[in-house]
Symmetry: C2
Subunit: 395 residues, 2 copies
Amino acid sequence: MSTTSVRRTSTTLADGRELIYFDDSEPFVSGAATRRLDDPRPLVDRFAPVVGDDDVARPIESPELRRDPLTGDWIPMAANRMNRTFLPAAASNPLAPAKPGAAYSDGEIPAEDYDVVVFENRFPSLLNVPGAGDAITHSAGEELFVARPANGRCEVICFSADPTASLASVTPKRMRTIIEAWADRTAALGALPGIEQVFAFENRGKEIGVTLHHPHGQIYAFSYLTPRTQALLTQAREHFERTGGLLGRDILDAELRSGKRIVLQTEHWVAYVPFAARWPVEVHLAPRRDVPDLPALTDAERADLATAYLELLAMLDRFFVTPDGDPITLPYISGWHQAPVREGRDLSRLHLQIFSVLRAPGKLKYLAGVESGMAAWISDTTPERIATRLQEVAR
Amino acid sequence: MSTTSVRRTSTTLADGRELIYFDDSEPFVSGAATRRLDDPRPLVDRFAPVVGDDDVARPIESPELRRDPLTGDWIPMAANRMNRTFLPAAASNPLAPAKPGAAYSDGEIPAEDYDVVVFENRFPSLLNVPGAGDAITHSAGEELFVARPANGRCEVICFSADPTASLASVTPKRMRTIIEAWADRTAALGALPGIEQVFAFENRGKEIGVTLHHPHGQIYAFSYLTPRTQALLTQAREHFERTGGLLGRDILDAELRSGKRIVLQTEHWVAYVPFAARWPVEVHLAPRRDVPDLPALTDAERADLATAYLELLAMLDRFFVTPDGDPITLPYISGWHQAPVREGRDLSRLHLQIFSVLRAPGKLKYLAGVESGMAAWISDTTPERIATRLQEVAR
């Protein structure tokens, strides 16, 4: 399958948000429909310069980025998200395709069918508000209180028009289309002004707070480097200065030499439980060739990824079983760690991280004082136990 | 009240763990009882050198610290914790005092009453295993796979003998005793070989995975600096080099000048919602005087802290209300950020961080892809809204 079989159609919703169809099957979905939404985009609608207590006109309802003076982290203040949709009934699934005569008044997608669709989130944490700029301000005139507009973009990607499907249940052909969409969005969002990195991820399962059960992921374009990416760059830089090697490459080679935590190998991809896995279930999937991000993958690597990704998800769904031996659908978080747009591209190596907070059937790992208060993770298992179980359930 | 009114009695349980009573009321609890436990300490019992696949004798069941080559973080592998007690029935509360004739076969505390008691956790993530040493090893001979024994200590602190009490419900006198116990443990654990920092914290509420409802906290002695503490030291060092000031002092002064996020002031303490609060509810409580840790507090500061801490907890329990206007007991995580034992003591300033994952009645903030995958926090509210609500419920 070549990339040319995917048709990309971009359109604009009535409230100004962009929506893009990625169709892989004829007859292609008509991407022209832009059904009117009943309520306008909350943020843009409220965007009106007002005079704040410092006598400067500014959009008070647009998200603000504040720098935590204690940690140096940037924290978006997205107060508009407080009232977002939370587990709506199936009849009001906003990610379902529009159906004539059905009550989808809160639906997001104007077309009556789709293969894969991406659109801007109605409740974004990061948003490029026209005219907001990117200037640093000092709140209350204090040098330590640094803020700036929370530039960025938050997108939703629907993996299927079927609300009962899951990413694990799509065909390899559809998975390939999803990979094309991820690569497309990585390139397109990375080209937007001020964007520093693009993060495509999926949260699956109510255990981790998924608010909509329709199969979907998210894509965040950050205007700053996230703390994990900063840590990865720091370690990769130290490793390069010390050894001259690419950290991601050398980790993969060490895992392949050690061998005991390898859980899947294909022509172009290797999956392994990392040496210092911090979650009850954790797997990394990395390409054999050094590439910085998804757009850099060849056709052959993408095609192989489609089947490798699905095989990995199938193994994860066999990890835990009920007392009767029935497999337990694993709640998980998956995310693509890609090279930043500008900084440290030559130090970065693409990999997918999939992990779960389920530590046993019905038992969750909670992030409490040690994790949330000190950012210090503790594993209740060992990477070798995780790997052994995944090797058992491999087919 | 002076510190001399607290009687400290240290004893050793039958399985070798230390247990310390802090009694503040006559007749003092007899601290001599060391009731035999039915099952021996899992880790120590299993400590037996075996020959591993690298032909080196080592304790395979003792917790191991592994360095994550991607992030540089140390991750304890505490596989022994997988089977720890999870929400036992009230009749088998292991933190209740021993009662003659009752079925407390799994109880931890030998005395029939206590005021405040501290003891080593039966299921520790960190443990100084005799003879384990602290030598770095390279797993599978790989330079990138760095490990060492997970030296450290995990303690439990019971705030009351009453299983239906909470920290918020204890008397100021008892709160003062708890502060004495925290200070005692900070000094004692910090003096142990190889310990780098001491973290006293409390997880309250089943929403954050509390496994025992009996009012208690935990105290961790880490043999490494946690990622948050490392970040604080990095920022404090940069701030000092740039301005010559102590970061914690200058943040407190900026919050006091700005004023709008101050929620409580006493003679010796100030509570404020930090400028870049990342949680739906978050408050920091800091002393007016520059001190590195709890042992450095004066008697007057400790006495004032006892009432200030209780007042803060009372305000937090009025933060959310039911539709009928009844207050909702807030699930929270609280933790004392103290100066490390060795590194950066002159850069550190004591403060308590209290935060909640509750973003509205019945709605939790989940840590999903952005937080758990990228360590990037997003706030769904603003610090000023949190502060305004706390100011409303202040008395």
